[in-house]
Symmetry: C2
Subunit: 471 residues, 2 copies
């Protein structure tokens, strides 16, 4: 494309906005002073970028019309949900239009017999959770950003969370989708059946592709039974082999009751132990700490069973120490230790955060290798390790105390370089967006990336939908 | 394409075979009298069709080479697993080459810490199950054809089975895939992590697309903990509302222990009750019969809990009658009632079989409408209804006693016409293949089918891979 002179560009933008206003109404097209600053950025570390306009359609037809008009004007569209993504997937691009689903909210239907719920994509996750709860069901997807993130964004990033070990990723909770493609056509596949092998299962194209292949407008979610009780234990372990052993024993002994298996390495435990307001119920000095949670259907049976199981693990020598929850408050306090990481920005000062995945058996070797490499490349650097180990997901915060700016490039090189070496993934649950794109080649082959590009070209040949993201 | 004279066609075939033999060796290329007749057909009602040759490569590289050579000669390839499909997905096409994975067998690796197993695509399901069992794990996928079907075929058809309500379809059991594309390129994505959001999740393109987008050569399967005990009940219910109520109560009260929820309508019960060798432990005359199964992790807790739950349902008035399993033999006998349908060809004589899906709430209305329409269009026709109702999956066998040929077209029109009316699916677990293709438009929109075709064109522009199947 040849560069357009400023005046022509401004005229072109004016024509686009006029066409959008004519089709969607002026309330759905915000420009200039009316354009909200919040749509300029997501929760990634990338700075703000103003779009040409912020669109807030209220119907699927309006989303389709907006897509057609923008495509006709050659202006790309960046879909936006709750803007809580950490990798820049929803951040506007220069010269793009931001299309926010924030006014497409609400629960359309709940079908208790099929255990499914039809929702509009802009609905905040917490609203979806509460509606399921009121109908006697559970939406097991849960994230810290629940009050802000939108269910459509959760789907387009295939969000994870704490209970993946039991319920799977967002992908596993979706029965059907309605999607607007780059050419404005609407794919309505609001399936409510668990089994449906009638042709290609198209929804999987759009789940986890971060708005690069289509804009999710409506979803059919699978509803789960509400657990009747939750029990948990915090355990200290003598070595990583015991962590692997305890995970296997949890899977075997707790079966599908097992709802979380979180591991914290010693540096994490010590840092959190020093934070005001966090009650750390086990002493320092152990090799690893696990939070194990089970959700049961009957407290009479499941609480004693969990206790009996835990005692058996202690007898088998897997535990150095452990505390068992005796109340809902205990369970909450245990999670308080694991969730204390949300305070790290205040406690640790500037640092870099990572969301990687590794084969479970390799995880402790990775941690050692990572610490050694950081100590060599950045003497004095800190690194805390914790995560959803049951799912192969490790989180890392690392940095050089007080350094501004942080030596981000070196830290990324170390962490992602070792991910490649250990056969892991650079993104377990946060996606690729813009910030992780340079590292995609570390964990996906040329043939895989070529196929991703082929799909992108097939569905969005002119690059009108979130261009330059992911691939 | 203009028609080729016979002599040129034969010369072209000879050149192709020579090129294949040169690349793969003569043991991997069977033609003429050496070509096994079994590769001419699958378990569908379509008759046999001889391919030009049967290829039996032993490595991924050989599959890729075969694909490249066939593409260069313009001869399509039909991938074959265990040939147990019911819709013709693996049946050769005239002028095609059949590529059987039958010599690509074996377990490559088991990773207990990640609870995953890497297998070659031609491995029979039963071999995979037994290897998992020997390693202390469960492969929950199970079908009647377990001894013959190949795990690659299970993946490419997204096979279902009896325990989908707990473990999901085959799709949910796959962590990674290696696939050969139509152009012979190899996509190796042998991921072992539950969470991996690094770019598009390409495996979902190939799962359930019946070999039309790529040939699956290796798989990483998720391993599950072995259940410690299995308990079951056969229940008679007063009406369909009670079936829906009992399903909801099972989900709530048994939670993830619930491993099967099968329903049989009265006609089915009566037919099976008259079969020699089948013990039917509840009398005729009820509105519906359910087989409920739960898999627990500890018999001490789970068997009494199941019994207590069942008693509570009886007290709530959901059950007209019920028998509870007291032994593994009882559980087996209960399944004997449900599995007796495999004898229908002998018992009922010629008939048509169906695998459809419906929203759970609509199922009984569908059954009534179907019976009424069949009685009107085909006086004297029989129709038996049963299936995995917890997953929205209904099986039907229907026919006109003794008629040869069966009035197949009328029966299909009635059954699929009502599926469209009730918002169901024409294929819950068997796929589309060739036999259901004419009906795909009943349940997928024009926009959906257009997108399927767009994907097919993007991945296989020259129609070299199982052309004419599915879309």
């Amino acid at each position: 494309m040849t560069a357009m002179p400023d005046a022509s560009r401004s005229e072109a933008a004016t024509a686009l906005v006029a066409a959008l206003v004519a089709a969607l109404g002026d309330k759905a097209v915000l420009t200039g002073a009316e354009r909200p600053a919040r749509n300029d950025a997501d929760w990634s570390t990338l700075g703000p970028q103003a779009p040409l306009a912020v669109l807030r359609p209220t119907t699927t037809e309006a989303v389709a019309a907006a897509m057609r008009i923008c495509a006709a004007h050659g202006v790309p569209v960046v879909p936006q949900g709750g803007l809580t993504g950490l990798c820049g997937g929803a951040r506007p691009l220069a010269g793009s239009v931001a299309l926010s689903l924030e006014r497409m909210t609400g629960i359309e239907a709940i079908d208790p017999a099929s255990a499914s719920m039809t929702v509009r994509a802009g609905t905040p996750l917490q609203v979806v959770q509460e509606a399921a709860d009121a109908a006697g069901f559970l939406i097991p997807l849960d994230l810290g950003a629940r009050g802000s993130c939108a269910i459509g964004g959760n789907a387009s990033t295939n969000a994870g969370g704490n209970r993946v070990i039991r319920y799977g990723m967002t992908r596993e909770m979706i029965l059907g989708l309605e999607v607007v493609l780059a050419d404005g056509s609407v794919i309505t596949g609001l399936n409510r059946m668990i089994k449906n092998n009638a042709g290609y299962d198209l929804k999987h194209l759009f789940i986890g592709s971060e708005g690069t292949l289509g804009i999710i407008t409506r979803l059919v979610l699978r509803l789960f039974p509400k657990p009747a009780c939750t029990v948990a234990a915090l355990c200290a372990l003598p070595d990583y082999a015991s962590v692997v052993g305890l995970l296997a024993a949890s899977r075997r002994g707790l079966g599908p009751m097992l709802s979380a298996f979180e591991v914290m390495w010693p540096d994490y435990w010590e840092t959190v132990g020093a934070m005001p307001g966090v009650r750390v119920p086990l002493p320092q000095g152990h090799a690893a700490y696990c939070l194990i949670e089970a959700q049961g259907t009957d407290e009479t049976f499941d609480a004693p069973r969990f206790e009996a199981w835990l005692e058996a693990q202690a007898e088998a020598g897997l535990l150095a120490d452990a505390v068992l929850s005796r109340s809902v408050a205990d369970v909450k306090a245990f999670w308080g230790v694991r969730d204390a990481c949300s305070e790290f920005p205040q406690v640790l000062g500037p640092h870099e955060s990572f969301d990687i995945g590794l084969p479970v058996a390799a995880m402790d070797d990775y941690v050692r290798a990572c610490k050694a490499a950081l100590a060599e490349r950045l003497p004095g650097a800190f690194a805390l390790f914790y995560g959803h180990i049951g799912d192969g997901n490790l989180h890392i915060v690392a940095g050089l105390k007080g350094a501004r700016p942080q030596p981000k490039d070196v830290i990324q090189e170390v962490i992602y370089g070792l991910v490649r070496e250990f056969g892991g993934t650079i993104s377990a649950e946060h996606g690729i967006g813009l910030t992780k794109k340079p590292w995609l080649g570390h964990v996906r082959s040329e043939a895989e990336i070529a196929l991703m590009r082929r799909l992108k070209a097939a569905l969005d040949p002119d690059g009108m939908l979130n261009p330059g993201k992911v691939v």
